[in-house]
């Protein structure tokens, strides 16, 4: 996890280690040092450094947005959008994707070594917030020598980071794209996360978070957390269409095997997730999401968060069948942007695929992204 630091400005990415005199100031008041940020870049930064795009990942995503995942060997999570001829074309943009602070793919997180003890932080890792993630990204962007991002783009938790960018660093943004997100976590959102956390903590192998030093992993708990969460990413229609009441084998087992295909699917989702994700990171990041309330941190008025972002061009997109972060949540964001006098576009994309539509084949999403990005790139003078 402690990879070699890559010199600033080099394309391709790696892990950027900040010097000890540049700690990350956390919302909790704690200082995180040394800070490392794992990141990937696609494309090249142009001469006037005006073509940088930051892509923010969702809860269980990472920096491998458009390249093969080193652990799973699977394609990057947004290869449908990032690539030659696609809306985010590396021939045109310098695309940066970072692993969030608190994550487990190269950025400092609960699995990193605590310099004061020489052991993994585990639960002594400080609580982090969405704003902390964004602050760390801003530090990396600055370290890469980029003053202004052409765009910051993200879905789900990535979309929340986009909103936080607009609130905290509007002068460093030309445009912002927020997909299938919300400006705060609802009671239902928090409730589902709590189920996941309790599943992890109920696993005897969690060991109060200190599983790593004891050579075990709370795989069962983390898998259950993933299974519960995965249901929220799909619409009822999509789940029914995909599985219905189809059985795995001929006939019922008259027991508790995975008789139904949907059970087998969820078990597979859980089992494959534990190979690539850290349980404590899951606890910390879900907590950061629960703590997210952009209006709450701006006097209870969401529009206040965007008052300084009037020069930023916003695009907010939602999916009609997303019940995790519904269209109503996106509308609230758009109304606040309007109330703040920001320039905002908003479209609800008709789909029955639920929250996960943002990773899936959704031509309407592609064309909305392409239209917004292309027209702004033209205004910005990007070839």
């Amino acid at each position: 996890m402690n990879a070699v630091a890559i010199p600033t400005g080099e394309t391709g990415g790696g892990t950027h280690r900040f010097p000890a005199d540049k700690p990350l100031r956390l919302d909790s008041g704690a200082l995180l040092s040394p800070l490392e940020i794992g990141y990937k870049t696609y494309g090249a930064l142009n001469a006037d450094k005006s073509n940088a795009v930051l892509v923010c990942h969702a809860l269980t995503g990472d920096q491998h947005a458009a390249s093969t995942h080193p652990t799973t060997g699977k394609p990057g999570w947004w290869e449908r959008v990032i690539g030659p001829g696609l809306p985010l074309d590396p021939d045109r943009y310098f695309i940066i994707s970072t692993n969030v602070v608190g994550g487990c793919m190269g950025s400092t997180g609960p699995g990193s070594l605590d310099p004061t003890t020489g052991k993994p932080y585990a639960l002594s890792f400080p609580m982090i917030t969405i704003a902390d993630m964004v602050r760390a990204q801003a530090m990396l962007v600055e370290a890469l020598g980029i003053e202004t991002l052409f765009a910051v783009v993200g879905g789900s938790m990535g979309g929340m980071q986009v909103l936080q960018w607009a609130a905290d660093y509007p002068e460093r943004l030309y445009s912002a794209i927020c997909i299938a997100a919300a400006a705060r976590h609802s009671a239902q959102n928090i409730a589902f996360h709590e189920v996941g956390r309790q599943a992890i903590m109920a696993d005897p192998d969690w060991r109060g978070g200190a599983y790593e030093v004891q050579g075990v992993r709370p795989e069962k708990g983390l898998a259950v957390a993933r299974m519960a969460a995965h249901i929220t990413y799909l619409s009822e229609t999509a789940l029914q269409r995909k599985f219905g009441r189809e059985l795995q084998r001929d006939g019922l087992s008259w027991g508790f095997d995975a008789d139904f295909q949907v059970e087998s699917y969820l078990r597979h989702q859980g089992a494959s997730f534990v190979d690539r994700f850290d349980a404590n990171s899951y606890l910390y990041i879900t907590r950061a999401l629960d703590y997210f309330d952009l209006a709450g941190s701006h006097g209870g008025v969401l529009a206040q968060a965007f008052l300084r972002a009037r020069a930023v061009r916003f695009c907010v997109l939602s999916f009609s069948s997303d019940w995790l972060y519904s269209t109503a949540e996106s509308r609230d964001i758009v109304r606040a942007l309007n109330a703040a006098g920001c320039r905002a576009s908003f479209a609800e994309i008709e789909t029955d695929k639920g929250h996960d539509a943002f990773f899936l084949d959704e031509p309407a999403l592609d064309s909305a992204l392409r239209g917004f990005l292309d027209s702004n790139a033209e205004k910005r003078g990007l070839a």
Partner: protein, 220 residues
């Protein structure tokens, strides 16, 4: 854009000042905003209900919000725009009085066009057939028309008076005929005008509107 401009668009293009901030309510695929941007260098924002329209606007690089006049105007701050445009749509909203009032809260001026139900053809159609008129301007039968709040020129001018709005300009539009400046209050025009396009402003200072922050409370 190719082809001739819609007659109301040509008039709107004439009315709007260069470099203005413009909200086009019911902007469709963004044709008008595109022309205004190109010809008048406006800073435009569209509001459109249909997904196809919104997609087309995005592809044209226009700022567009998917939403409708009844529900979404309330969330724009006061005097956010120089012009709010509502072309051939007022008769389709649930609460035309509120929408009209909101247009002139969020913009200094409103450009509103309405089909005139007092036009002689409409009146004759009703008298002679005894059925809901279907005309060039109002082609659908009663059971499928989106026009749920039709009005005559007189109805409209009287609503403007109720809302303390000033009619700065009124043009009569008819397909194939040149636009004609008219006196909207003249009784004869309530027979002659097929569609009327108004430039409206507030007569006096509007009552102090609630601050943006209070509006925002609703959705924070």
């Amino acid at each position: 854009m190719s082809g001739p401009l819609r007659d109301d668009f040509r008039e709107i293009l004439r009315l709007v000042r260069p470099d203005a901030r413009v909200l086009d309510v019911g902007c469709g695929e963004g044709e008008l905003l595109e022309v205004l941007t190109r010809e008048k260098n406006i800073d435009g924002q569209g509001l459109e209900l249909s997904a196809e329209g919104v997609g087309a606007c995005l592809a044209r690089g226009l700022a567009v919000v998917q939403g409708d006049a009844d529900r979404d105007l309330d969330h724009f701050p006061t005097k956010a725009f120089d012009y709010a445009i509502l072309s051939k749509t007022l008769q389709q909203v649930r609460d035309p009085k509120h929408v009209l009032s909101e247009l002139l809260r969020i913009a200094e001026r409103a450009v509103v066009s309405v089909p005139n139900f007092g036009h002689w053809r409409v009146r004759m159609a009703l008298i002679t057939t005894g059925r809901m008129p279907e005309t060039q301007a109002l082609p659908e039968p009663w059971w499928s028309t989106p026009n749920i709040h039709l009005c005559t020129l007189r109805d409209f001018t009287s609503l403007c008076a109720d809302l303390n709005l000033r009619i700065d300009s009124c043009v009569s539009l008819a397909p194939g005929k040149p636009p004609r400046q008219i006196d909207a209050a003249a009784p004869i025009e309530n027979w002659r005008a097929e569609t009327a396009l108004f430039l409206l402003s507030r007569k006096a200072e509007p009552e102090p509107a609630p601050p943006a922050a209070t509006k925002a409370d609703l959705f924070s």
